[in-house]
């Protein structure tokens, strides 16, 4: 590359059409910036999305893009990335797209460990269909389809991803630009499926859903950034810590805080942290829950094709057809 890429290089000519104030704008900005920082040229990058507000994202990126059908982006990305492993592939999805209709595909892409980045914009509501409860809405959420409150227990996207054996699991917040940039770059650097949950504010149908932890005023005291290799210390003044005690996580003085590891051979520490959400006594974890190495799907698939060609030689059509027991008729 001769020129360094800038954020502008990743902006498409399409007018962005989310509601004013939607958290999606900040994410789009951060992703365009991250792409410039990562420095892969636009034509080697592809954004694949499903259906929902967030899934309009590819139209706004000056890269290759595929706005697919509801829930199926991981499956389409699997074909795309396997067919061309040189591409940097990003999947943009939402809580409904990824965890309702597309739950199966999300589970399977995570277990396969395709080398792609999945950004799940979690706003705990269906935005595009105008405000029905989603699979991440807390039980009791009142919407037009749940006038007496939703009954369903919600998914925790982080626990879901961990349960699927995801090799990179992180969380960030739409308004926390610096944090988001760090997480996006770490995700892009990770070899394997990177799963990022982004708390995204839907100003129209679920405004302030994450304010209790994500609002700038309380954020430092109500969240803890999981940084691999760092002490688990949080708070505006760095005055709070977390440590393990038996099978639990407890608050402690900063000097007693445990050191966070995202690379434990077991998923247990990450699961433990993902369970802290919505506990008013505890900080809500963001940052990197898990980051481990595992074989990459497309490498395995393409490796078998190369191995077969190496072993048997590139197949010739004639040998394919004239195979097995043949006989001639000449009368």
């Amino acid at each position: 590359m001769t020129d360094t890429l800038t954020k502008k290089d990743f902006k498409s000519d399409q007018e962005v059409r989310w509601c004013p104030g939607c958290g999606d704008y900040a994410i789009l900005n951060a992703v365009q910036q991250a792409c410039a920082t990562i420095g892969k040229p636009q034509h080697e990058v592809a954004f694949v999305s499903g259906i929902g507000c967030s899934s309009r994202f590819p139209y706004y990126m000056n890269t290759y893009g595929f706005h697919t059908i509801h829930g199926r982006a991981p499956a389409i990305a699997t074909g795309l990335k396997t067919a061309n492993p040189a591409l940097s592939v990003w999947i943009i999805t939402g809580d409904g797209d990824a965890l309702s209709i597309g739950g199966n595909h999300l589970a399977h892409i995570l277990r396969r460990n395709l080398d792609v980045n999945i950004l799940l914009f979690n706003n705990e509501i269906y935005g595009l269909t105008k405000g029905q409860y989603s699979p991440t809405s807390p039980a009791g959420t009142r919407t037009k389809t749940s006038p007496m409150g939703s009954i369903d227990r919600p998914f925790n996207p982080i626990s879901f991803a961990l349960g699927c054996g995801a090799t990179f699991v992180a969380r960030t917040i739409d308004t926390h630009l610096k944090h988001m940039a760090g997480v996006l770059e770490a995700a892009a650097a990770h070899k394997g499926t990177s799963f990022i949950e982004i708390y995204q504010n839907c100003v129209i149908f679920n405004d302030g859903a994450f304010d209790d932890v994500a609002d700038k005023k309380v954020r430092d005291d109500r969240t803890i950034d999981l940084e691999p290799g760092q002490k688990m210390i949080y708070g505006k003044d760095g005055d709070k810590g977390l440590k393990t005690e038996g099978f639990s996580m407890v608050r402690c003085a900063p000097e007693e805080a445990s050191t966070w590891t995202a690379a434990s051979p077991y998923g247990a520490p990450a699961f433990l942290m993902s369970g802290l959400d919505h506990d008013p006594e505890m900080p809500n974890p963001i940052g990197i829950f898990r980051s481990v190495d595992a074989p990459i799907f497309e490498d395995g698939v393409n490796g078998q094709v190369s191995a077969a060609i190496e072993k048997k030689g590139r197949g010739k059509l004639k040998d394919l057809i004239y195979a097995g027991e043949t006989w001639d008729i000449n009368s």
């Binding site: 595929f66 499956a75 795309l80 197949g315």
Partner: protein
């Protein structure tokens, strides 16, 4: 039949066409036995056709009617078109197999019954109150009783195998017996067994011993009054042949099609009866640059194929009816994004889970009409096993030349049926090389060439970044557009593109009478039965025209002129008249009569012939 004498004592009769049905328990290895007999007959030079008929359950309770697995095969010194309406010979490995099958046997037909499985318990499991071998049920048939269980045990008493392993060689004993009866060579099967049991040579030897014991039993025990020979078929066109089943033929056709397009295949699939063996076939051909991905479900399977097509590969997905239902939305996406994609539906009995292992042609409506919106997708159907190869190539051609998903319909009968396949001259197959968009200047993702196809620009190509998706596209730019006029324009553009395929397909030929009272119009796997019916009636001096459609959507040009040459058109199909109804809509001045059967079985030639005779008498 002519009788000659051979060196042995028994007369050797020449037979023209023989239909054998092997029937036994699911665990008895009848499919294998049938396949071996088929291969040996193919190598003798017979024309042949097969019809495997097995239960959906992998191992239904042993000895019951539900567990009966059958394999029917017709082999002939003539050019034949079907596996036969009714067998000449029934091999019944147990009481249930006899009970299920004997009524379909030809009058005077031969039954070879394994009396080792006709005990009281066996009869009970087969829901028989009395033993059909003794109660007169089989009057009118020739019955050979032989205790195969016992004979195999004797033959293998020194093999060192345990009793269970010995009994598993029963099918090869039976095969040997039939090889003797029909003068087939055993060497191909011998070789096959040695290859198959390479790691356990004692099993290969035991099976070979059993087969030879069966063969010798024919000679020594004078079970039969004579043996038969079916000579090499001289009616087949000159060429090199191999025996093949429909699913592998589709698989080979896809590989050939991709190669002719200069592309590599990515198959996204999910196992489903009776389509799975296409996935299995392609998975074994990785050295042809074939990538197979077994996805988590039917939807993911087609989506992975679409993703691969976006990347510049030839995306393919293979399935059967219920899987087609699941893939429907994604087909619409492929159509809207105008990406090439081949979708193979090996039709089975429906609706719902239906009859997974049986055949039917009832997904025609689904293929042509079964999507939301105005969604034209080309539909082809294969007529025979050999045709499956050509149709798969044709599906690839249409997909890449017109940038469109294409549906290829086969069915369970073609999928599992085997036939001698005259191998195509590979070098003579026309190529349809894909040219990817490269040039940045004036690149418009939804501009169209003279065929109406949009450019195919692979991600990774500098300067051609563009976005596609399921929302309505603006003409030329491909940007999202809600404009009413653009929507209508694009609906027409997509339809006209698909209709334009007619320019590249031939008008089908009419066989038999070129005009007259009746044209019989078929599609898909009924070709053999209709042809057989035509030949049967021709021998009686009755003539009619026969036309078979490969391209079902769009329809080839020139059909109206052909229909006009006949008083009426009869449409036999394995459904309740789906093609007939479609034709009535397309050609309102033509009288289409439907002949639909839905038994889960191929149409029977003599039934079609009877229907035609009645019509022509009217």
């Amino acid at each position: 039949m002519t009788t000659t004498t051979q060196s042995g004592e028994l007369p050797l009769e020449l037979a023209e066409t023989v239909v054998i049905r092997f029937a036994g328990d699911s665990g008895d290895g009848m499919q294998l036995t049938g396949n071996q007999f088929t291969t040996s007959s193919a190598l003798v030079g017979n024309d042949l056709a097969t019809l495997p008929d097995y239960p959906a359950e992998i191992r239904a309770p042993a000895g019951t009617r539900a567990g009966v697995s059958g394999f029917q095969l017709a082999f002939s010194s003539r050019d034949i078109h079907t596996p036969g309406d009714s067998p000449d010979v029934l091999v019944a490995m147990n009481a249930a197999a006899l009970a299920v099958n004997y009524k379909q046997l030809k009058p005077g037909g031969l039954i070879i019954a394994n009396t080792g499985n006709f005990g009281e318990k066996d009869l009970e499991k087969a829901q028989l109150k009395t033993n059909p071998l003794a109660d007169g049920s089989l009057d009118g048939f020739r019955v050979i009783e032989i205790d195969i269980n016992k004979r195999v045990a004797e033959a293998l008493k020194d093999s060192g195998l345990n009793a269970k392993e010995v009994q598993r060689c029963k099918n090869f004993y039976t095969l040997g017996l039939l090889y003797w009866l029909y003068s087939r060579p055993m060497d191909v099967t011998e070789k096959w067994l040695r290859d198959k049991f390479g790691k356990r040579p004692e099993l290969a030897e035991a099976n070979i011993t059993a087969m030879k014991a069966g063969y010798n039993a024919g000679d020594i025990h004078q079970l039969f009054q004579g043996r038969y020979d079916v000579k090499k078929c001289q009616e087949l066109p000159n060429g090199t042949y191999r025996n093949i089943m429909g699913n592998p033929a589709v698989g080979l056709g896809l590989i050939a099609g991709a190669e002719l397009a200069g592309l590599e295949i990515v198959l996204g699939s999910y196992p489903i009866t009776p389509a799975t063996t296409i996935l299995e076939t392609l998975a074994a051909y990785k050295h042809y640059g074939v990538t197979t991905i077994q996805m988590e479900d039917e939807i993911a399977a087609i989506c992975a194929a679409i993703g691969a097509s976006f990347a510049g590969k030839l995306g393919v997905t293979t399935t059967s009816g219920p899987g087609m239902a699941l893939k429907t939305e994604a087909m619409g996406l492929a159509l809207m994004t105008e990406l090439p994609l081949v979708i193979v539906n090996v039709q089975r009995g429906g609706p719902s889970t239906g009859l997974p292992t049986k055949t039917e042609q009832a997904d025609l409506n689904q293929a042509i009409f079964g999507r939301n919106g105005e969604s034209p997708i080309p539909v082809l159907a294969c007529a025979t096993v050999g045709d499956a190869f050509e149709c798969a190539v044709e599906a690839c051609r249409i997909a890449v030349e017109y940038m469109t998903p294409v549906i290829l319909l086969t069915d369970g009968f073609i999928a599992n049926g085997a036939e001698p396949w005259k191998l195509p001259d590979i070098d003579a197959l026309p190529r349809f090389e894909v040219k990817f968009a490269q040039d940045k200047d004036g690149f418009l993702p939804y501009s169209r060439d003279e065929k109406g196809a949009r450019p195919w620009a692979k991600p990774g190509t500098p300067g051609l970044q563009h976005r596609i998706g399921g929302l309505e596209k603006a003409h030329l730019t491909g940007n999202v557009s809600y404009d009413p006029d653009n929507h209508e324009f694009m609906i027409h553009a997509r339809l006209e593109k698909v209709m334009g395929i007619r320019e590249s397909i031939p008008t089908p030929k009419v066989e038999g009478a070129q005009n007259g009272k009746l044209l019989v119009l078929g599609w898909g796997s009924t070709y053999g039965a209709i042809t057989e019916a035509r030949e049967q009636l021709h021998r009686k001096g009755i003539e009619f025209g026969q036309m078979h459609l490969r391209h079902l959507y769009p329809l080839p040009k020139g059909l109206a002129e052909i229909f006009a040459r006949y008083d009426r058109v009869l449409v036999p199909e394995i459904n309740l008249g789906q093609l007939a109804r479609y034709m009535r809509g397309e050609f309102q001045n033509v009288e289409f009569l439907s002949y639909g059967r839905t038994l889960g079985l191929p149409l029977r030639a003599h039934e079609i012939a009877a229907k035609i005779e009645t019509l022509l008498e009217q």
